[in-house]
């Protein structure tokens, strides 16, 4: 059931992309648009086939950076949200700091991260972690606070400890919020990794796009963007499938 849903989602996405490609193909042929302005989708496809090895390798690098950043950023966010949900003073202290992090333009600090962490994987992971942090923090915090008060009271009359209430009630209540946070953060993590590669790297899709941009090599540029999109769609479908499985009891899962 969920596997079929995932495949259907992917199929619909591919169909939409194919439709856009057809329109662009007709457009570029009918008006003979030069390839340094807008390459025909067929040319992009041909280039992707030629450089499939390169795109797969660089895509894998970007994906692993984004995945590492996602795991770190969301874990730290959930841990801080737990502390914030636990104590009002912490909430008051940490929330302004979180907003500060959120409002810092990633593009501005990306070169700084390269200075701090070097040209390797670390600054890309750091940027991906930073950019995923805030949406996950807010969602986790709201989720942990969303527990039904009557149910909290019920557990309290049983002498349940704060830790037990957290485990049995607050965390499961937060799950729908955690999943929507994960969906947002996942795409942001990919963007973060690409921005990191853009500002100083010799590897990854961001680097491919950066070099292609400088050389007006638009077929490989669009090829890299498409690979990035494919990774994003696949990751989203995966989260969606996990969500439907874990939240089978939730109206969202029941309704869709």
């Amino acid at each position: 059931m969920t596997a079929r849903r995932t495949l259907t989602d992917l199929g619909v996405a591919l169909l939409a992309i194919a439709a856009i490609a057809v329109v662009l193909e007709v457009w570029s042929r009918a008006f003979q648009v030069p390839s340094y302005l807008l390459p025909a989708p067929s040319a992009v496809a041909a280039r992707m086939a030629t450089d499939a090895g390169l795109l797969a390798r660089e895509g894998g690098i970007t994906l692993s950076e984004a995945a590492a950043g996602f795991v770190i950023g969301t874990s730290v966010a959930f841990a801080l949200a737990t502390v914030m949900a636990w104590s009002r003073p912490f909430e008051r202290t940490l929330f302004p700091l979180a907003i500060l992090v959120k409002l810092t333009p990633i593009v501005a600090v990306a070169p700084l991260f390269t200075l701090w962490f070097g040209f390797g994987t670390a600054p890309k992971v750091a940027i991906a972690a930073l950019i995923t942090f805030f949406p996950m923090l807010v969602n986790s915090f709201v989720g942990l606070r969303s527990a039904d008060l009557q149910e909290v009271a019920f557990l309290e009359t049983l002498g349940a400890s704060g830790r037990e209430i957290f485990r049995h009630l607050r965390v499961p209540s937060a799950l729908p919020y955690l999943f929507s946070g994960a969906r947002i953060s996942l795409n942001l993590a990919l963007i973060g990794a690409v921005i990191g590669e853009w500002t100083g790297a010799d590897r990854g899709l961001g680097r491919v796009i950066f070099v292609a941009n400088a050389n007006l090599d638009l077929t490989i540029l669009f090829g890299a963007v498409l690979v990035l999109a494919a990774i994003g769609i696949a990751a989203n479908a995966l989260v969606g499938a996990a969500e439907r499985r874990v939240l089978h009891w939730h109206p969202i899962a029941v309704a869709t």
Partner: protein, 244 residues
């Protein structure tokens, strides 16, 4: 024998005073607390359970402070329109009270599955709350509050969100439960007829805020009771007069 629940001179306030001068003793009996919506009936229950601290006065539960009774797992609590834990099946919801606060005494006699069976929910034992009707959910809420075999049972309008036929069924169910084992029950409701059908004693709270105890009506009708009994509406009228 000292009362299982004893409140003396209890007052409570959130931003403004809610309850004042509440004196209430409950032994092994069913006491219905009747009042208009928003008079502080739920607050009263929360004070008895120790979830809200009174601003003055004392509360004794089974001879100890409510917080101690809670830690010993002596209190059963049924809320209006219980949402249960939607990620747990009926059986898992009923076993939940046994999974928390494990150091305290838990039930010896009746297993969770047996409670589910007594509530007529065996066929739904592996269902999730969203698959149940409101009446079935309240039955689960009853089962899960009774699985620890509490001496004190606090009920906050447990039938208020149900349709009339389901309410009748559950009323009978409650009476059977109370007859099978004596407990101290505080049953909060705004429904006077329901109070007269169920309780040994009806306590009326109300008045301009803060609310106080306006009167008390002993209900000596034999059980099972019906509304056709000649004295039924006399008693309802008596309760009503205290409310007005």
């Amino acid at each position: 024998m000292s009362a299982a629940i004893a409140l003396h001179n209890v007052s409570a306030a959130y931003q403004r005073p809610v309850l004042i001068d509440i004196d209430l003793e409950v032994g092994n009996e069913v006491v219905a607390v009747v009042g208009r919506s928003g008079t502080g009936k739920t607050t009263l229950l929360r004070i008895i359970a120790g979830l809200v601290q009174p601003t003055s006065g004392t509360v004794d539960l089974l001879g100890v402070a409510p917080a101690v009774a809670r830690r010993r797992k002596r209190i059963g609590f049924v809320a209006q329109d219980a949402r249960l834990h939607p990620w747990r099946t009926v059986r898992e919801n009923v076993t939940l009270p046994l999974e928390v606060n494990r150091s305290a005494r838990t039930n010896g006699h009746v297993s969770p599955d047996e409670w589910v069976a007594r509530m007529g929910l065996t066929d739904a034992i592996d269902s999730y709350p969203h698959q149940l009707s409101g009446g079935m959910r309240q039955r689960v809420a009853l089962a899960r509050s009774l699985v620890i075999d509490p001496e004190v049972l606090l009920m906050d309008e447990p039938l208020a969100s149900l349709d009339e036929l389901t309410r009748e069924d559950l009323r009978d169910e409650l009476l059977r439960l109370w007859e099978s084992r004596t407990r101290s029950v505080v049953y909060v409701t705004h429904d006077i007829e329901e109070a007269v059908l169920l309780a040994d004693r009806v306590v009326v709270i109300g008045g301009t805020r803060p609310a106080r105890i306006r009167g008390e009506v002993p209900i000596s009708l034999a059980r099972p009771r019906t509304k056709r009994e000649p004295r039924f509406y006399d008693l309802v009228q008596e309760v009503r007069e205290h409310l007005e």
